[in-house]
């Protein structure tokens, strides 16, 4: 499957998903991200899912897991770009994604992540 581009910007990794993620893609993503964190030592991770118009329970849990793995490696995660319809569907499914921080877009995420990272170091 296609590699999802991971951008390294100062101390932050930015991952932008394409328009549909299969279950295998999601597991691969977990692997790619954790490897990238290990390699770069990035303190922040932004996952941009603005291209996704469907997020089901499997992907929801995957995203939670990725944030949890990142946290174990000392990295703070922000999930950005959730479409309104997706947000409402996730809430009704019962997935509030409490384990992961959120922001409206990459710009806002960079700002808040910056503050959170600064507080930590």
């Amino acid at each position: 499957m296609a590699q999802i581009p991971i951008i390294h910007l100062s101390d932050v990794l930015i991952v932008t998903t394409q328009d549909a993620i299969s279950d295998t893609d999601a597991l691969d993503l977990q692997d790619q991200i954790t490897t990238a964190i290990e390699r770069t030592g990035a303190k922040g991770l932004i996952i941009d899912i603005s291209a996704l118009d469907i997020v089901d329970s499997f992907l929801g849990r995957m995203l939670n897991d990725i944030a949890a793995m990142a946290r174990l490696m000392g990295t703070k995660t922000a999930l950005v770009g959730i479409q309104p319809a997706v947000a409402i569907t996730l809430i009704e499914l019962g997935l509030e994604l409490r384990g992961i921080s959120t922001a409206l877009n990459v710009e806002q995420a960079l700002r808040t992540l910056g503050a959170r990272i600064a507080r930590q170091t």
Binding site: A20, S22, I54, D56, S57, A85, T89, E92, L93, G94
Partner: protein, 136 residues
């Protein structure tokens, strides 16, 4: 006036089929006049059910079609497989089975997203889940 929509039959054998089924479901929902949020609900419900087919039965079918009931119009999806079947339906419909770390089978969540859901299952023979959502 939109042309009559024909039922769509999707064979579920691989992961790509989950994506295909939910995309077709979303398209049909849009053609029927469902709004963006309902399209998302319907597509997500299809995703949950077809994943169950793949996980528990290995293979199955999803049938997507318009539904009518008197003056009501909507969409109906039937997901069927010949897998192991569910021995305790009330149990799998409980909350705790989906939330938390385990895989869960997403049925209570799916029920919340749709207006109607019916599960028919025989141990050793298979399972059929029918879901419906109506236009408001």
């Amino acid at each position: 006036m939109a042309p009559e929509l024909l039922p769509i039959r999707v064979t579920i054998q691989r992961e790509e089929d989950i994506i295909r089924a939910r995309q077709q479901g979303r398209d049909m929902a849009r053609s029927l006049g469902f709004g963006a949020v309902d399209q998302s609900r319907i597509a997500t419900a299809i995703s949950e059910l077809t994943r169950n087919i793949l996980r528990y039965a290995g293979t199955g079918t999803a049938i997507l079609r318009p539904a009518t009931q008197g003056a009501r119009r909507g969409i109906e999806i039937i997901c069927e497989d010949e897998g192991p079947g569910i021995s305790d339906i009330p149990f799998v419909m409980q909350e705790g089975v989906t939330t938390g770390k385990g895989l869960g089978i997403g049925l209570p969540g799916t029920q919340r997203l749709m207006d109607e859901m019916k599960i028919e299952s025989q141990v050793g023979q298979g399972t059929t889940v029918t879901i419906r959502k109506w236009l408001r």
